[in-house]
């Protein structure tokens, strides 16, 4: 395993009275793909959203335990800086209702880059990085909502890349897409691994097997098992993991 970028220790999370995460501890290694799997409502998305503090937006959330990014407690650092370093791609593609160019430039502009030439370079690099440059280079000024689902999601990945994050959190990024668009995103994610640390939530176990290096299995707020993907799927160490991956529940 590579050196850990994110270390989670004894993390508990409550939405009001309900505990959604129970005493979670795990390390996320650099430049690899970590898959989070489990039945819906198991806490995997909640966990993901804790890593860049998107849960802050939900009223009534209470968190204990520690999450460190590059050795720093994320609840102590500036949240906007954290989200710049730890980017996110959402379940449903959510481009802003602006031009493709402005969508990508949104992040860099947010963090203070205004030079036109510099922005042009960042936009091109991000779009190339997300393998969508050739498709959209002639219509950068067109509204991003005019793209179809697959390209929209790759646009959102490009938008996340444009702020040069170290970590990319992906929340079921292909669940709203057709199989062809899905496989293109998967290819892209595996390419991105060489430069970025990726944490991906998926409900699709084949996907986890196909792309991830290690897998964490969540159930009812507990982290049941966390191991290298190959090992977890071939010789699960826990009865519940075995039942889940063989399709007995979920």
């Amino acid at each position: 395993m590579n050196r850990p970028v994110i270390t989670v220790n004894g993390l508990n999370l409550w939405y009001g009275q309900t505990q959604a995460l129970k005493n979670i501890s795990l390390d996320i290694p650099e430049k690899s793909i970590t898959a989070l799997i489990g039945p819906s409502g198991c806490g995997k998305s909640t966990f993901l959203k804790t890593l860049n503090r998107m849960n802050d937006l939900v009223p009534g959330v209470r968190i204990t335990g520690s999450v460190c990014y590059e050795g720093q407690d994320i609840f102590e650092t500036n949240v906007n800086q954290l989200r710049k370093e730890v980017g996110m791609v959402f379940q449903k593609p959510n481009p802003f209702p602006m031009s493709i160019y402005n969508n990508i430039a949104y992040g860099p502009r947010t963090h203070g880059i205004t030079n036109r030439q510099e922005l042009d370079e960042i936009v091109e690099k991000a779009l190339r990085g997300a393998a969508i440059w050739d498709e959209v280079k002639d219509r950068l000024k067109k509204n991003a909502l005019g793209l179809s689902g697959g390209p929209q999601q790759r646009l959102c990945i490009a938008r996340a890349l444009a702020v040069q994050p170290k970590v990319l959190l992906m929340d079921e990024p292909t669940s709203a897409l057709d199989p062809i668009a899905t496989s293109r995103i998967e290819d892209l994610v595996m390419e991105l691994k060489s430069q970025y640390t990726i944490v991906i939530v998926t409900h699709n176990m084949q996907q986890a097997v196909r792309i991830s290096d290690q897998t964490a299995f969540f159930l009812l707020g507990d982290l049941v098992e966390y191991a290298e993907t190959e090992k977890l799927f071939s010789q699960p160490g826990d009865k519940r993991t075995e039942e889940y991956i063989t399709g007995r529940f979920g």
Binding site: T77, N78, N80, Q81
Partner: protein, 290 residues
């Protein structure tokens, strides 16, 4: 860096909080201004003499400040407008919500919006030029300006709000209710009047209350057709003053206790309106519940 952005965001948050509280501030200011300027005259005149005195003679040598004529006029006038306006408004709303062909409905809805947008002085002007002479010649009386003319003008003016709100309420009735009634062999008309209307009753009640609020608060149109003499509303043809017009007609030249008494009238009107608002809220909540 960290504390700087946080400070900035805190300031922005604070600004928006202030903007959000402006409405509350306005309501408080209006209430306080009305109470402070309305109380002195009531104190001097005496609450009972003020509210139940039947003579208003503010400019007489021995001034008298009884506003019972205005209160009764406002109540009768509003009741009359409701009596005329609600049946017409409700039936129109029923037709538009349930029976009307699509084209007719959209044309009529435009007409209703237009009616709602016409300034009250235009209503007043048409009332002055058409209604007042009409009443005079129809009933062979010396002057047509009076309670009846005011009632008719108010009835027309509250029509759009009653129609709009009733349509909203009627359209919100779940279609299942109506289907169930139709499936039992009831005709569409029976269904709409015996099932839909009762199901929409709090919305329709809210529409009526809204109409009451509009009617009791209208000043200019009424001023142009009601005659404006401070009489008791003994007959439909009596020249009368409403609470609103009592304030408006003397404000520009009043002074001293007379002026203060006008503010007291405004305070009474304000209390009426607050009661009506409370009733409106009650009915609107009732509509949301089921």
């Amino acid at each position: 860096m960290k504390s700087k952005t946080n400070l900035f965001e805190t300031i922005v948050h604070g600004i928006f909080l202030v903007l959000g509280l402006i409405t509350v501030g306005c309501v408080l200011l209006i209430t306080i201004y009305l109470i402070i300027s309305g109380i002195p005259a009531i104190r001097e005149i005496g609450l009972l003499d003020f509210l139940f005195g039947d003579t208003w003679a503010s400019t007489a040598a021995q001034p008298q400040y009884g506003i019972l004529p205005f209160i009764l006029t406002s109540i009768y006038g509003t009741a009359g407008a409701i009596l005329l306006g609600v049946p017409v408004g409700f039936l129109t709303a029923m037709y538009l919500a349930k029976m009307a062909p699509k084209r007719a409905k959209s044309v009529m809805e435009q007409a209703v919006s237009l009616l709602a947008g016409i300034p009250s002085v235009v209503y007043g002007l048409v009332g002055m030029m058409v209604l007042v002479p009409g009443i005079r010649s129809l009933f062979h009386i010396p002057d047509g300006a009076g309670l009846l003319a005011a009632i008719v003008v108010l009835a027309v003016m509250i029509l759009p709000s009653i129609i709009k709100m009733s349509i909203t309420a009627l359209e919100a009735v779940p279609k299942e209710y109506e289907d169930a009634s139709l499936a039992l062999g009831a005709t569409p008309e029976e269904t709409y009047f015996r099932v839909s209307a009762p199901a929409a009753k709090s919305g329709i009640a809210a529409a009526v209350v809204l109409g009451v609020g509009r009617a009791i608060g209208e000043a200019m149109a009424v001023m142009m057709v009601a005659g404006n003499a401070a009489n008791m509303p003994d007959s439909l043809f009596q020249s009368v003053r409403f609470l609103t017009t009592a304030v408006a007609s003397e404000m520009s030249y009043s002074s001293g206790l007379q002026r203060q008494a006008l503010f007291s009238i405004a305070l009474v009107l304000f209390l009426f309106i607050m009661l009506i608002n409370a009733a409106l809220n009650f009915f609107l909540k009732g509509e949301k519940k089921p």
